[in-house]
Amino acid sequence: MKNILGRDIPEYIEGIGKLEPFQGAWTKLKKGWMDEPTVASAIKAKLPHQNKLCDSLEEAIIKTNPVNGITVSFHHHLRGGDDIVVKSISILSKLGIKNITLASSSLTSAHDELIPFIQDGTITKIFSSGIRDKLGKAISRGILDIPVIIHSHGGRARAIKTGKIKIDLAIIAAASADCEGNATGSHGKSAFGSIGYSMVDVRYAKQSIVVTDNLVDYPCIPLSIKQSFIDYVVKIDSIGDTSKIATGTTRITKSPMDLRIARLAADVIEHSGYFVNNFSFQVGAGGATLAVAKFIRDKMKKKNITGSFMLGGITSYCVDMLNENLFKALFDVQSFDAAVSNSLLNNKKHIEVPSTLYANPFNCGCLTNKLDIVVLGVLEIDVDFNINVITSSEGYITGASGGHSDTASGAQLAIAVCPSFRGRIPIIKKRVNTIVTPGESIDVLVTERGICVNPKNKELEQRLKKTGLNIRDIHELEKEVDGITGIPEKVKFTDKIIGIVEYRDGTIIDVIRQVKE
């Protein structure tokens, strides 16, 4: 069957079940009351003054009585520095557990070592927002029999709440925790900031283990993770390398091209009609996206504008803007920079939020619904403004859905920023390899060679044209870029589906096929 974007979606996939095709960003949500089941929290009991502390992670895992086919969840707040996912799966493997469903909020370069566990059948199914490097390539080559399920951050919270992801065991790396399992990411030698993704996991998991390298005297404050959800607590030497959280993505770029694009995006924002007092704002980390914040910061000061809140992946740049009173609050589901931990801990206006409050579409209104302006990165964009942030130009899984479609759908003004080509590869295509965010959610594309306004937004186009900005038709720009780079040969795929891309509401927006090599 075809979804509304014309992508072929199978009706059923073995190991996943029936698929529902994407019908539009808000089609499914319009009715307000959702039909999907709601999973209840596990009901457990502990006697007073029982000891939850275990001597090792292995002991804690054994105590949960793992069985074949369990679903184990993790967060990715330690990003490239995470040491817990591979360690935990190694233990489960040693215990002879097979057919694990790995449900990590995302997977990074720290998780390449999972490949042998997929090869030997320890892991047979994966839910994740993103997959990178060798693991992404291995999955793209067909290492898993069941396609990987790519979800957005909001979509993950929805999937957990509705039981699409049934977590048997949540293993939570915490920068500090106490003997009862109250835990946080905001202080300790491995502080990583918000622990927003795990807040949802522990509420619905059958069993939960907190792993920390900083066991503190009771109580561990703040109670980001609460003891009432935690079965066992483990102290280990190190949960990972926090220096790899930032991985260079939170510094303002020095690339003249990224700065040029960011400057143009800031000009678009300034003249969009949404750059007014109390506006809310989100930017990603790295490249041109974060640099937009630098220019917006200058413009806010110059025009004496103050905002309402900043949302999402929080960088030290966002913290600086909060401290300058440019915004009233930061809502932090994930800290892109370990350096923001101190602010999260001490500034009451820097608020830790669970991913369900951040972006879950199945509630009474998540924070992304209240967003005015978001600036988003792009791997590929097509002439219908559909965006790919998951597969590379060669067709391999290499990126992450993250909050891309969540924020794009919620924001009043969603701006995509990217160079018109990278290396010799055009970024604006007639058709992207994989759709993660539908074009209907994107208002403007900003490149160094021109700014394209989605034709659905005529009023914005007229407003921007009056400012002298270089507004162009996206088809014309696509042709120009093809003229510079030439048209790359199409990537060849086999018929085998190796991944499905869930839209935030659980419908399927696209599938990813195996690269033909």
Binding site: K254, P256, M257, L259, R260, R263, G468, E480
Partner: protein, 293 residues
């Protein structure tokens, strides 16, 4: 619109295809495709061919395209002209011009090439660079040597070396030369372009130097990294208040001219031709056409 302005001239090494093809996207007023100092001796041929082909095939959008050739007395200068003149850049920048005859010699060669290729004579403008003490002494003559010359520039690094002085942050040693060049340009009603600011990480230093350049009369400044463009534009761009006053003056001038009045008073201030000229210049810099208002 932008072609009326020369606030920034972005140097791009002529042998680097990735950088040359991006020349028009950074918002500089002029792109300066360099065949001279930024190109190693072994790359001179490659740069010349690349720049020629890029000018033919790449869209530089609204950016003025200028090529800096090697000095005509080097083994490369003449061949540079033979390759570059036929693709008709908007201007050619001539390094180390010391006398009027230096410029005339090159212009005569350019004219021969234009004739040979059937190109209209005189469209390609010439921008002499003053980079030696003798050049500074002769700058008025150089600036007025030929109608093709519509800008004159200072090469700060070479001039410092020629003067045998150490370059200081306040540019004290170059102050006379900069002012002499500006005056020669103004006397000939052509543009005066300042030298580069070498420290690409010192935004404050760049702003201070640019503010001084503007104050003493330069039209714009050369740029070695696109990151410097916004700061220089910010300095050279008129302020909102300057624009507001300029609009008022030009509007009043047009109304009074229609009534046959030459000199008039506005807000207690006498408005005559030079004031109007300056106001019009501000509107040009701000891309404002009074008839559109």
């Amino acid at each position: 619109m932008r072609k009326n302005k020369r606030r920034t001239a972005l140097y791009i090494p002529g042998h680097n295809p990735a950088m040359v093809q991006q020349g028009g996207v950074y918002g500089a007023d002029t792109v300066l495709l360099d065949l001279e100092d930024s190109v190693a001796l072994s790359e001179k041929d490659a740069a010349r061919i690349l720049v020629r082909n890029m000018i033919k095939s790449i869209d530089f959008y609204n950016t003025e395209v200028t090529v800096r050739i090697n000095h005509i007395n080097t083994p490369f200068g003449l061949t540079d002209l033979e390759y570059i003149v036929p693709v008709k850049p908007e201007a050619i920048r001539l390094p180390k011009i010391e006398t009027k005859s230096d410029v005339i010699t090159v212009i005569e060669i350019i004219e021969k090439i234009e004739k040979k290729h059937g190109i209209p004579i005189g469209n390609i403008k010439i921008h002499p660079m003053i980079e030696t003490a003798i050049g500074v002494q002769n700058v008025f003559e150089i600036a007025s040597a030929h109608p093709r010359i519509d800008a004159i520039t200072i090469g700060g690094q070479d001039l410092t070396a020629d003067m045998g002085i150490v370059k200081t942050k306040d540019n004290a040693g170059l102050d006379y030369a900069r002012k002499a060049i500006v005056m020669a340009a103004k006397a000939n009603r052509i543009d005066a372009l300042d030298s580069v600011f070498a420290d690409v990480n010192d935004d404050d230093g760049l702003r201070i130097e640019t503010e001084y350049a503007k104050k003493i009369g330069f039209t714009g400044k050369a740029v070695i990294n696109p990151r410097q463009i916004d700061i220089i534009h910010d300095v050279f761009n008129p302020t909102d208040e300057e624009i507001r006053v300029a609009i008022k003056i030009v509007k009043a001038f047009n109304e009074n001219t229609a009534k046959g009045i030459g000199v008039f008073a506005l807000d207690g201030r006498m408005i005559d031709a030079p004031v109007v000229t300056r106001a019009q210049h501000i509107l040009n810099l701000a891309d404002i056409d009074i008839d559109d208002l």
